[in-house]
């Protein structure tokens, strides 16, 4: 068989195979539960595995490799996976075929760990499908390509670039000399934490099914829950405490976690980002308590404020109550948390605390330079100094991020959504948080957005999860590929003529 040397196709194939396994597991859950949905999940698994294997084995790796190619691989594989992830919803009949874009929305929202949903009647949905929904968040959290690099023997493209372009954050830590080892360690830790949370959740009284589903979405900071009323379904303080700890842990950098696990707790002290991260969440918590003081009872205030500060500060999006009823100021605080998000290298979304730090330092440096125009001031984060090139990239990212929020908000309001819902929806989608403000609060679903608006939100989610640049460069790489093919053909023609 002749192999086409196109790296993105091969990577996409690998990712599809991973998702097929998720579908198979969910089918097994559906079978055990007996609530239906087995057939749909099973056939989706077969189709996906078939297509994935075809793509994977039918293609090879391009001889040349650069960052554009890595970006393109990641972006295209995410596209493929999102489409595949929509299949179970359609084949099981949870979402009718006429609303195929809604199935895609649910799938994209899952893989990007956003957690915005368009489902409403959770009671009638087969448990297997809900499990699948939680599971795609779990896969999306650490990244399918990281998984593929870790597990599949012959993906063939090495280099940190591929992982770096999928993992959240401006830089990726090399945990080991070999990329595959790095990926393995990340996934090992990820799996371990999931197990731990699942055990803790079942210890505080959840059923095993609930515990596993919620562990999946907690560790991925996704926010899907098999219940329409999310965490308030359990109405248990113990459950909330476990989830809060889990979210806090998973909103922090996994590489640091690995260092801490292997080398002792001192690893956290070396990272300045973690101080900012905790400081941000807990100052938001303090502000929320202060703003909500007159509105809620003392205990309820502390409980809900802490839960939402952590839930939105890590871009998870679990809900315990309706914060839309809170004071406007409290909602503004939540919105700020949604924009910033968790730490870099974590499963959380948002702009990332590290970038906020860089931006702060950058702006502060300009102040110093305004006074001392000839001063040379490096940008320091704790003990480390950030290179100018990296700082410029971070700044470019933040500008683009803000620009996308504005653009998304303008388009959504242009489609007739009210400004608060529109802009907070754009922020929530781009930050992969889940719930928004206005009509799209934690107790509502995203059907309040018009159909075209949901497509915009989907695009924003992917942009946010893939950290904007890969998604944008996917298009660049695609056009470049076409141009190259054309040039080659033209050269071929010229050679023939001679």
């Amino acid at each position: 068989m002749r192999r086409v040397a196109v790296t993105p196709v091969r990577v996409a194939g690998a990712a599809l195979i991973a998702i097929a396994s998720a579908m198979a597991i969910s089918a097994a859950v559906a079978l055990a539960d007996g609530g239906g949905g087995f057939g749909g999940l099973f056939w989706s698994a077969i189709i996906t595995a078939f297509v994935g294997a075809g793509l994977f084995f039918g293609s090879g790796v391009s001889p040349s490799s650069d960052s554009a190619l890595a970006f393109a691989s990641v972006a295209w594989s995410w596209l493929a996976v999102s489409v595949a992830g929509a299949m179970p919803f359609l084949l099981t009949g949870v979402i009718p075929w006429a609303r195929f874009d809604d199935a895609l929305f649910e799938s994209v929202s899952g893989f990007t760990c956003t957690g915005s949903t368009i489902l409403s009647d959770f009671g009638s949905i087969p448990q297997g499908v809900l499990f699948f929904r939680s599971m795609i968040q779990w896969f999306g959290g650490m990244g399918l390509i990281v998984l593929a690099v870790a597990v599949l023997p012959a993906l063939g493209i090495g280099g940190l670039e591929l992982i770096a372009s999928e993992a959240p954050g401006p830089t990726v830590d090399r945990l080991s000399l070999r990329v595959r080892d790095t990926a393995r360690r990340l996934w090992l830790l990820y799996g371990g934490v999931t197990l731990l949370i699942a055990v803790a959740l079942s210890a505080v009284g959840m059923s095993i099914y609930d515990a596993v589903s919620h562990a999946f979405t907690t560790v991925a900071t996704g926010g899907y829950s098999p219940y329409g009323d999310s965490i308030s379904h359990f109405d248990s303080f113990a459950v909330e405490v476990v989830l809060i700890l889990g979210m806090l842990y998973c909103g922090a950098n996994f590489s640091t976690h690995w260092h801490a696990v292997t080398g002792g707790i001192g690893a956290y002290r070396r990272v300045s980002e973690i101080r900012w991260y905790l400081w941000l969440i807990f100052s938001a918590f303090g502000l929320l308590i202060w703003v909500n003081a007159g509105e809620l009872g003392w205990l309820q205030n502390i409980r809900e404020s802490l839960f939402y500060a952590v839930s939105l500060g890590t871009s998870t999006g679990f809900g315990t109550s309706d914060y839309i009823a809170w004071m406007p100021a409290a909602q503004v605080i939540l919105l700020v948390l949604m924009v910033v998000g968790g730490m870099s290298g974590s499963t959380a979304g948002g702009m990332k605390v590290l970038r906020l730090q860089v931006v702060f330092r950058y702006a502060f440096r300009e102040l110093v330079r305004a006074r001392h125009p000839r001063a040379v001031v490096p940008i320091r984060l704790g003990q480390t100094t950030i290179e100018e090139q990296v700082a410029a990239k971070v700044v470019g990212f933040v500008l683009l991020y803000l620009g996308l929020i504005v653009a998304g908000g303008v388009v959504l309001t242009g489609l007739g959504v009210d400004p608060v819902t529109g802009f907070s929806g754009a922020i929530s989608a781009l930050g992969n948080a889940g719930p928004a403000l206005g009509d799209a609060g934690p107790t509502n679903n995203f059907l309040v957005f018009p159909r075209a608006g949901r497509t915009v939100l989907m695009a924003l989610m992917v942009f946010g999860r893939l950290e904007v640049f890969p998604a944008m460069l996917m298009l660049v790489a695609a056009t470049r590929g076409v141009a190259q093919a054309r040039r080659r053909r033209r050269l071929g023609h010229a050679a023939l003529k001679e």
Binding site: V359, L367, R369, A370, R371, G396, L399, T413, M472
Partner: protein, 529 residues
């Protein structure tokens, strides 16, 4: 760049000569006075602001007296007090022989603060309001050219009306002077007329900054006069024409009536206002060059102008497209009015702003943030800075594919230095960082989320009109004293950019900083030992 041809002789004309004389005379006057003992640029600036602004009080007092109003005495006494205080301050201070940049920043900020104090005093003395916070925010709106007010202008005496309008007009004129004289030394990226990111439209007009200044101020005065005549011809009463021409060309936005321009219910008046606001958002040096040689093609050649015009056109079309019903002459006029009023940060009102669709609202807000062209009297972040930011993003995108590429950012035919670039970005981040707490304060102080956000943005861009449940102008009334104070602060910061204000504040805390540094050093030394 090719060397520029020598400039022609200054424009002849009585007005120009008069302005030049007036400007140089006031400069000499202040210099002659400031022979005191204390070497302080801050003192000289504060004194100069007071000494030179006091005549305004007296003129308005006179107008009020002739009109038979009730405020002439209060205005006269405040004016006299301001004059005396100014003379005193100038007399005891002296212009320093050397001026570090941080002092210059402090001087600019203190100049604004001095103007704020004088105008606040006038508001309190005339009894327009008896609350300090309201007087302060009214004064801030006056000196920054923001159309946010809690006062019904129809209740004001002629003296106060003129005072507030002239206040907006004069502070915009002062901005021109700062633009030419001070900003080139400060290098607040993208704002200055000839430093930093100079493009061809905003480069100095004459070899000496003094004559550049005189030319721009003359142009400004001439435009005001023309606009007043146009308003008169369009059927506006005399006093209203004067007030509106002053507040339109300065992108201020105060009006004589509660309903702003819209209350005249006249198409021609609104078109004149649209034109006036449009002009207020254009770079003054660009207008000057185009007018002097009669070369209108200069406008077309300016990239920034094309973007400015394009933004207005796009938003006007979008507002029309997203509204109900087919466009009529009236809706087209209103849509244009909204767009121009937003981008020039004037804040005049006509038609029903609340009837604009959500999408149009969002776009108008974006226009408010963008603001006018650089080197114009309009507020906002300035078109050119956003163009630079757009190019920067594009460069970073390209760089992530070609990590070693070296690329310069170009705007039209001139390239932009990395320092200026960093300044612009730093300024944007600082502004955003200030905006977030203000939104929080506004929302905690009684506004809804939409109102708090749009009002904060609008105030920072010196527009004043916002969206939400409180109608276009009800926001300032809805917030309490803390909201008033933060609005006043944000207006001033928005007008003179964040960097100067923060640097000036930093200079105030300089002794504390150095003490801290010394303490730290000693501590480290102990550790080393």
């Amino acid at each position: 760049m090719t060397p520029r041809p020598p400039l022609r002789a200054p424009v002849p004309g009585v007005a120009h000569r008069f302005t030049a004389k007036l400007l140089s005379w006031s400069g000499t006057f202040i210099q002659a006075l400031s022979r005191g003992k204390i070497e302080s640029a801050v003192g000289v600036t504060i004194g100069a602001v007071w000494v030179l602004s006091a005549p305004l009080f007296l003129i308005c007092s006179l107008a009020d007296f002739l009109d038979g109003g009730s405020d002439y005495l209060a205005l006269f006494i405040t004016g006299a007090a301001v004059e005396v205080a100014g003379l005193l301050v100038v007399r005891i201070s002296r212009f320093p022989s050397s001026l570090p940049i941080s002092r210059l920043f402090t001087a600019v900020v203190c100049g604004a603060a001095a103007a704020l104090v004088a105008v606040t005093a006038a508001h309190l003395a005339t009894g327009v309001t008896n609350q300090l916070d309201v007087a302060l925010v009214e004064a801030a709106a006056t000196i920054t050219g923001t159309n946010a007010s809690t006062i019904n202008p129809e209740m004001l005496s002629l003296g106060m009306l003129l005072f507030r309008a002239f206040g907006q007009w004069l502070s915009a004129a002062a901005i021109i002077i700062v633009l030419v004289r001070v900003l080139p030394h400060l290098g607040v990226g993208g704002l200055d007329a000839d430093g930093g990111v100079a493009t061809r439209s905003a480069r100095r007009l004459a070899p000496r900054s003094g004559s550049t200044m005189a030319r721009l101020v003359t142009l400004y005065v001439a435009l005001t006069g023309l606009l007043a005549i146009a308003f008169l011809l369009a059927g506006m009463p005399f006093v209203d024409s004067v007030v509106h021409s002053l507040t339109t060309i300065s992108s201020g936005g105060f009006s004589t009536r509660l309903g702003s321009i819209g209350s005249f219910n006249s198409g021609p008046i609104e078109w004149v206002a649209i034109f006036g606001m449009f002009v207020a958002g254009i770079s003054l040096p660009l207008i000057f060059r185009a007018m002097r040689r009669g070369d209108l093609h200069r406008f077309v050649r300016s990239v920034e102008f094309r973007v400015y015009l394009g933004l207005i056109a796009i938003v006007t079309l979008a507002v029309l497209a997203w509204s109900d019903g087919l466009p009529t002459a009236t809706t087209i006029r209103y849509a244009t009015f909204f767009a121009v009023s937003s981008i020039s940060t004037t804040g005049h009102l006509a038609g029903d702003l609340a009837s604009v669709s959500f999408g149009g609202e969002a776009l108008l807000l974006v226009l408010m943030v963008v603001g006018g062209m650089s080197a114009s009297v309009a507020g906002g972040f300035k078109v050119m800075r956003f163009m630079v930011l757009g190019q920067y993003i594009g460069r970073e995108l390209r760089r992530s594919v070609h990590p070693t590429a070296v690329e310069k950012i170009h705007l039209g035919r001139s390239s932009i230095g990395e320092t200026a670039l960093a300044r612009i970005i730093g300024e944007l981040f600082l502004a955003t960082m200030l905006l977030v707490p203000t939104v929080l304060v506004f929302s905690a102080d009684g506004l809804d989320i939409e109102g708090a956000f749009t009002f904060a943005v609008s105030v920072m861009s010196n527009v004043g009109v916002a969206f939400g449940d409180f109608g276009p102008q009800g926001h300032l009334q809805a917030v309490g004293p803390i909201g008033h104070l933060s609005a006043a602060l944000l207006m001033v910061i928005g007008r003179i950019s964040v960097t100067p204000v923060l640097v000036a504040l930093g200079a105030v805390g300089e002794p504390a900083q150095s003490a801290l540094r010394r303490w730290r050093m000693t501590k480290r030394e102990v550790v080393v030992r």
